[in-house]
Symmetry: C2
Subunit: 473 residues, 2 copies
């Protein structure tokens, strides 16, 4: 990168907020995929105008700008695969407004999702999306990838709560989308076009959020099953019984064995699968749902632990949240996918991954958001074993092919980034794909904003090895 | 229109499905705005391939195609203002699939919204959006305008339930967007880009819908107030009291006087405003909400009618649904707006319209979806009185200016069409507007699909007088 450009960037963001030493660059070179690419510089702007000035410069000189929040993405969305500038939003981390009367908040993109949720609790308000990374992921990245989480089964995902965006286009132009009201249908829905666009169409500098009243109460159950098939078949039945959980998570046997030692759950030895069920709402509403659920469980002889007190509740959640880290005790690497299938197809999908694991001689874990069909499939591998890595990749393709056959989708919450690009055409038809690429070209004619993401159209710089922090799903 | 084009159109849709006589054309010349423009031809295709062939022909020869569902739109979205072909979807009216296990339905665009809801009830399922026109409006139009309805306060609007679309682009190309799963973040969100695009970016030929379980129970209250201010201030307070109604509608004094004679509601003479409140959910959930609401009403001495039996319930809804028709007893014409303000600003907005009506010597009714701040403002005029019509238009501009000052939006559910075009720039910033126009040009370079809608870029053919059926909101 030309020294005059580096100097211009330094002028824009200030001396302390432009990083160029190898050690500094390395800190912003990786994400949750465990892959790493060195940028030429890292800029930490503090305002919309600074973001605009950086993009205007990039568009003029043709260098890549890669937006990055907390770097916790799972598909490479924030990796500088073609070098250039990593634009980090961590300094733009103010909660600008909480409006309880209208249940609206306005935040900057660097706000940590969990910190926003804590701040809202004081007002008895809730921002529902709850990715497992909520303690460190940021709101801008959540919007860029359209993050989900366990509560999506009841409350939906990021696109359902972001109703307006302040955006800087790749040209440096600044625009405001959406509304700060519950409804709004004026012109095209640019807000949702930007949400889930993985940082390829614009950089968010302001977000208007709709909020919900904080539920008064929440109760947690852990259901245990002697077979996987019984657990997965129970998912649809719980919903059909008039129960609307705010969490309906599933864990297979390999996952249970991983977390069993770490968390004092006191499971029967024959337990082969778990469902984690949470119900929230008003006290009376929860009581009603609770009695329906226990009726159902008793009728069907389903053993369960009830997280009546905070300690049991925490133990159950500790188990769920420790899966991703614990999985690395099996193999040093994983291919981690967040496929979705129609709920009724979960048993088929899970049976398929069992067979796939056996046939391909791979350990495959399945767990995650069974309530909405969004299953995390982790194919455990050792990348240093090239033959095993190749088998892992072959298994991944078979998995995606089966998911699409079942009427599902490649990604429920992680996006395409770089890791799923080879499989995009399995799901998206050629005309839709061409339309998306035309939209990218319209917004970013010089292809300077996060080039090579979603659609393979940038030659990435060489992959470099790096220390990996285990990602969280 | 050239005879050879007419012949080609007739070949595409079949002799009986291309209409060209003046009487036939007149039937498809108007919508809920009461305005009318004659098309050159009306085509009623029966399949995606026929829609594609029509658009391919139009794109080659450069004639306008205007998609039309039931013609019940409120802003002129389906009016052939530049002539050409009106493409009517009424023959594409099949419910293709209802999948109770996955709570998904697949429908063609000509399906009547209310008929879908009736069909779903048999499966104990619900498609929530409920525009007041639901007995005759169609699903394609609902998606094109992103229709709402009273239940939006709890359940959201059309964009929250349409998860995938079969679309024909203005070039005739066919594509499929979205998913048939609860989640999906693969590529850009083309589905929501099309929803609310008012028939300017593509014609929908298939819609994938997510559904909810049908609530077990629903209860209705009518709250009566001695002043308007008390009624509007109560809206936010009900929500803050932990009550989540599925309907929270408001009617002002003029509206009450309109419906009082028609519906046996037995209101106290001093009643100056009404709130219609509905609560749905499980039996226990409704019981709980019901006791919260009655506690609140008793504490604040708010008089109410409780629609305990079906007859009372029906009387209350008959009153709500009769407003639009009854309003024409005041004046032969109206300027009907569906503005939205942040909920806490409803008292300001309603006080403003009272003053506006007095100052401008106009009768202005306000009613509608108070729960989400979406207030229907009807400025009653006689268009044959040019001076009064001009005063009405002046009042409308003042209304929109005030709405934007209050942080609101010009349209909650009707869209821009042709009627709100002069005011678009009050709300949408120049960069956002330019971006929308660029998207329109990208999708429709020859501007053949519904030209002149949202953005003023087609010279309309002359307005012709026509018999008007009163529109419904």
């Amino acid at each position: 990168m030309d020294q005059t450009i580096v100097d211009r960037l330094r002028t824009i963001v200030g001396r302390d907020n432009l990083l160029t030493t190898p050690e500094e660059l390395s800190c912003y070179s990786y994400d949750g995929t465990g892959r790493s690419f060195l940028p030429d510089a890292v800029a930490l702007p503090a305002s919309t105008d600074e973001v605009s000035a950086i993009l205007e410069l990039a568009n003029r000189h043709g260098f890549p700008v890669v937006p990055r929040g907390a770097g916790s993405g799972m598909t490479g969305g924030s990796l500088p695969i073609a070098g250039g500038v990593v634009l980090v939003t961590t300094r733009m981390n103010r909660i600008l407004e909480i409006d309880p009367a209208n249940m609206i908040a306005v935040v900057e993109p660097g706000v940590i999702t969990g910190e926003l949720q804590t701040a809202l609790k004081k007002h008895r308000l809730m921002y529902p999306p709850d990715p497992a990374s909520l303690k460190f992921c940021s709101m801008g990245g959540n919007a860029a990838e359209c993050a989900g989480g366990p509560s999506a089964v009841k409350y939906g995902v990021t696109r359902d709560y972001v109703i307006g965006l302040g955006v800087v286009l790749p040209t440096g132009e600044i625009l405001q989308t959406g509304v700060r009201t519950e409804k709004g249908v004026v012109g095209y829905d640019l807000t949702r076009l930007f949400i889930g666009s993985e940082g390829t169409l614009g950089i968010f500098t302001r977000m208007i959020l709709r909020l919900l009243p904080l539920p008064e109460k929440k109760e947690t159950w852990l259901l245990t099953f002697p077979t996987l098939a019984e657990a997965t078949a129970t998912v649809s039945k719980i919903l059909a019984a008039g129960i609307t959980p705010c969490t309906l998570e599933y864990m297979d046997e390999t996952v249970i064995n991983l977390v069993r030692d770490q968390v004092p759950l006191d499971l029967a030895p024959a337990t082969r699968a778990l469902l984690l069920v949470e119900i929230d709402g008003t006290a009376a509403g929860v009581r009603d749902q609770q009695s329906r659920l226990t009726d159902y469980l008793n009728q069907h002889n389903i053993a369960h632990h009830y997280g009546a007190n905070e300690k049991q509740h925490d133990a159950i959640w500790q188990a769920r949240r420790s899966i991703s880290q614990a999985s690395f005790t099996l193999k040093p690497d994983k291919i981690s996918e967040d496929i979705v299938v129609p709920r009724s197809k979960i048993p088929d999908l899970v049976a398929f991954t069992e067979t796939l694991g056996r046939d391909m001689e791979l350990t495959i874990l399945t767990f995650g958001h069974a309530g909405d069909g969004n299953i995390h499939v982790n194919i455990m591998i050792d990348r240093s074993d090239q033959e095993e890595a190749a088998r892992g990749e072959a298994a991944r393709r078979k998995l995606f092919e089966r998911v699409v056959e079942l009427g599902g989708t490649l990604s429920g919450e992680h996006g395409i980034g770089i890791t799923k690009q080879p499989f995009l055409a399995l799901e998206v038809d050629p005309v839709a794909l061409a339309t998306m690429k035309r939209i990218k070209r319209l917004f970013d004619p010089r292809n300077i904003l996060n080039p090579g993401k979603i659609f393979p159209d940038a030659a990435p710089s060489p992959d470099i090895p790096v220390d990996r922090s285990p990602p969280v799903e």
